[in-house]
Symmetry: D2
Subunit: 325 residues, 4 copies
Amino acid sequence: MSNLRFGAGIWHFATYVDRYATDGYGDSRSILDAIELAGKVDDLSVVDLNYPFFGGDFTNEQVKTALEAQNLSVIGITPEIYTKVFRKGAFTNPDPGVRRLAHDLITEAADVVRYFGADYVKLWPGQDGWDYPFQVNHRRLWELSLEGLGQLAEENPDLKFVVEYKPREPRNHMSFDSVSRTLLGIEKIGLPNIGILLDFGHALYGGESPADSAQLAIDYGRLFGMDVNDNLRSWDDDMIAGTVHPIELMEFFHVLRSNNWEGVWQLDQFPFREDSVDAANMAIDFLKRIDAALNRLDVEELTAAQEAQDAVKANRLVQQALYGG
Amino acid sequence: MSNLRFGAGIWHFATYVDRYATDGYGDSRSILDAIELAGKVDDLSVVDLNYPFFGGDFTNEQVKTALEAQNLSVIGITPEIYTKVFRKGAFTNPDPGVRRLAHDLITEAADVVRYFGADYVKLWPGQDGWDYPFQVNHRRLWELSLEGLGQLAEENPDLKFVVEYKPREPRNHMSFDSVSRTLLGIEKIGLPNIGILLDFGHALYGGESPADSAQLAIDYGRLFGMDVNDNLRSWDDDMIAGTVHPIELMEFFHVLRSNNWEGVWQLDQFPFREDSVDAANMAIDFLKRIDAALNRLDVEELTAAQEAQDAVKANRLVQQALYGG
Amino acid sequence: MSNLRFGAGIWHFATYVDRYATDGYGDSRSILDAIELAGKVDDLSVVDLNYPFFGGDFTNEQVKTALEAQNLSVIGITPEIYTKVFRKGAFTNPDPGVRRLAHDLITEAADVVRYFGADYVKLWPGQDGWDYPFQVNHRRLWELSLEGLGQLAEENPDLKFVVEYKPREPRNHMSFDSVSRTLLGIEKIGLPNIGILLDFGHALYGGESPADSAQLAIDYGRLFGMDVNDNLRSWDDDMIAGTVHPIELMEFFHVLRSNNWEGVWQLDQFPFREDSVDAANMAIDFLKRIDAALNRLDVEELTAAQEAQDAVKANRLVQQALYGG
Amino acid sequence: MSNLRFGAGIWHFATYVDRYATDGYGDSRSILDAIELAGKVDDLSVVDLNYPFFGGDFTNEQVKTALEAQNLSVIGITPEIYTKVFRKGAFTNPDPGVRRLAHDLITEAADVVRYFGADYVKLWPGQDGWDYPFQVNHRRLWELSLEGLGQLAEENPDLKFVVEYKPREPRNHMSFDSVSRTLLGIEKIGLPNIGILLDFGHALYGGESPADSAQLAIDYGRLFGMDVNDNLRSWDDDMIAGTVHPIELMEFFHVLRSNNWEGVWQLDQFPFREDSVDAANMAIDFLKRIDAALNRLDVEELTAAQEAQDAVKANRLVQQALYGG
């Protein structure tokens, strides 16, 4: 139970653009501004930082100072391998020069991980994939994905690399599209320092049961991190956790707890039109509700119900724990 | 048959950003650059222009000169009622001051329509809607949509207004989400100068049959314009027309032809990673294939097959016309 | 508040087949068996009956006696216009003889409504639509839908007819596919005795906000009935209400209450592998939770939050009411 | 090129029921009736047979005689592990007695494979999975899936077993839900005689690129069979192959050909409302079009385009090959 630690991607506190509101959903912020906002959240311990640091030329030291001022530490570094130069892929870019750029950027990010004593380099190869039928040689594309990832893990055996899969966006189809595909790739590479960062919303949107995805990754010894949010199951909406799918969120955390998985409960939300501190507080308050509900859950009875695959009995127990008597 | 005229949204020739590649999918271009590129397409007659003109402070005259140099005329003006200031809605913004801004911008756009002798003001209220359950009062939101639209149509009886519906994006749910909802709204307003701009991809993605949507809008006398593209049915991918769903595209044009609907065959594509002139040429070449296939289609036999709802016979006729003997 | 009356489609207590388990998900039951089971539910007042009565040759009197023994009355009669003979449509069948059969069956059902003093004839034209591109003439199909429906409403002015829309299944696309399309058709017919039976799950699965759909139907004076269940948003799973989407279910009932809509809270669930009495009890217990949560909801504050479209504030209020302090 | 052999699941020539048309979409047929119909298809060489044989008590000898009369041979046997008794799962049924029944039925089916000299036992565990959140222990469910499958492969080393994955239906989520999950399981078992039967429509509906799925299965040496059909990407509609997604179908066969994959081009269609012989002939005629188009495809140029991930160039080549000059 419940010495919960909460975290967030620092982008939670940035502002956003999209293809329509090209002038942004708010005034742009530097990573230092974002860190200051993160510090205003009631119960945040760690952050995941984009690299390069956005909004200015900041040194590691400057960022560290800003973090210390807010009592925040770093859980991971996310190299931005999905910007303009990587628009046709990072690991799988048709241009070997760009693939090299990706490798170099991630290698730099590895040093930033070391600097901050963070847990991992987080890789989200959102531009690696395809848009059209017939666009790519699928074997080649997958080989490039695994070669790029494997080489980095091999070159940095002191560090962990986590892959965050997602079905699509910005590419119409991402190479690392699902928990199973990602595990298949990781097992093929066969190195101990590559794992999965499981995003609850990506699993949900991909038609997975996030609880099942977590269990599978755990059973392969590959669940290195996770984050949560919510969506309408047809897109990566990155809404506030718990606002749409509280039951599946609770099942997700139930599986983590049952497996004694210990790690940070992170947020990966994009509050386009909301106050980002409010949005984080609301999510964390809800995660605490979930934690309290799990404390109330009659696990023995639930286990029996699941043994019988008795959906009615299982969900009655869940409702009792979540909503009260 | 087939004095086809082709058109495109001028944004087809711009470059794009999204929430990940915030530095863009290419170097940014002004509307004048885009017009020059549009002029390189083999067979383009008209364009739809965003307003305000992007990439600089250009006068109507400058834009007109640029268009004339490329032999292009203007079919519609699309006021940008979906940028930062409108991020919580244009017609339905909770702030009456912002609603007024939307009204004023559209009124300006109406004058631009007059200046260019264009066919219509195109309204795509992409930020009008909601993201979360319980976020809005649904009656009030719909009332605001219809009031805002109706007022403009009333104030500008010399012009046509077309509404382009879409299920979602950027809002998680758009108020004008479907052909039927939009017709319901238009009929409620009851003015003759409001119609629909039917985007093939929006209909497809919304689970409609675009052919059925076109027929319905025609039967209400409200199909004022259309554009095409393609997608994977789960998002507004704005891919090159014909690359994924050629059969439904052909059925769409079959319905237009059967109803003697005369209008421009427009493109609304976002070639994020493709050369925009190539992408336009490829689409137009495919539309000509469709047109030729429709010339070959045995309409009498098809009508008989449809009368019997004989899917096999109907699609055999279609395949013969499209793929040859 | 809360003189709630609960109802269910009598098929909730039948057993099912599908295209794989052609020998059924349980031993088959007659309508009398189903009524007996319905009587075992703790808090059920009314049922909707399929017509013809399934599982034997039963008279109205026999059914009435069975209902009285369980203290149940009849809210609606659902003529089975989706069986083998109607596999290519009821109102829109290409064979006029089959269209006539549909008309006659519904006319019989109208008499059964009169016999039981029920509220309405429920029409769910699940086979009216299309499967393939190019299969139908879309104008003709829609005309046939409205003619068939309109004729019946005209011939039976003493009765109400409710249409239950659904995006698809068993046809790949149903003609009455959405709330807006159905309202458009009803308004075109223009008779006062046709309304909508809004199925929460159909709206959800169709990408609608069920709360918005209810509001729209109410604003046209056409919300004659409703039922609830749950699903995974990609199919009409007819799961137990509240097990997946409690928040949207609560918003749905909030809208009904705000509009002083008074009617029965009905269940349309298909407990394929569950005990049907358990499944009904569980759903009704959850609906009572929702009702209690609505009693606790600070409507004034919520109204203010919605006026500002403040999703965070609105959902905090909802969470407080639903989950407690 | 093109000594194509075509096959079909014998259920293609049966009739169907679903949860609404419980009296069926046509008069029921025995497997002997279905074989006779299969014989009427112009170009069919092999069939996949459900086991037990449907519609009567038929011996292997009777079925063999019927097949010989139509010049058909057997490619696979599909034990019906998804009927009433297995409604809560075959391999994963909570009742060990039912798991034993599944094992025994499949073992019988293995003998039928031997009798007919067929290629494989086909396993489609459509009832193995879950419907509700919290219903199952996900680890246990997956273990049971692999144990059941592995034991059979071990006990029958002379035979091949193929698993046909599908995202869902009839269970709301199937355990073998995707190409990657299935490969992960097969590799975990580690036996040489388990492979994948790749259903084009299941891959498409699951958000996969069927071409990519085929490549992946081939690269693991596990593509033991395939079948085709079409759908609207949101359900396993089992429509006639080529009617909706010709381009992706062509890409799928392009990948098979590029890998020198040799096997039967099978149909898995459910012509609910169509003549089944017509539907098979139409699909096979289209597959021949695809084959001819692949003959015309400039593979060298396509390879270059794919190397550059040039979607426009690649798809121009495809369109030329498919639609002509």
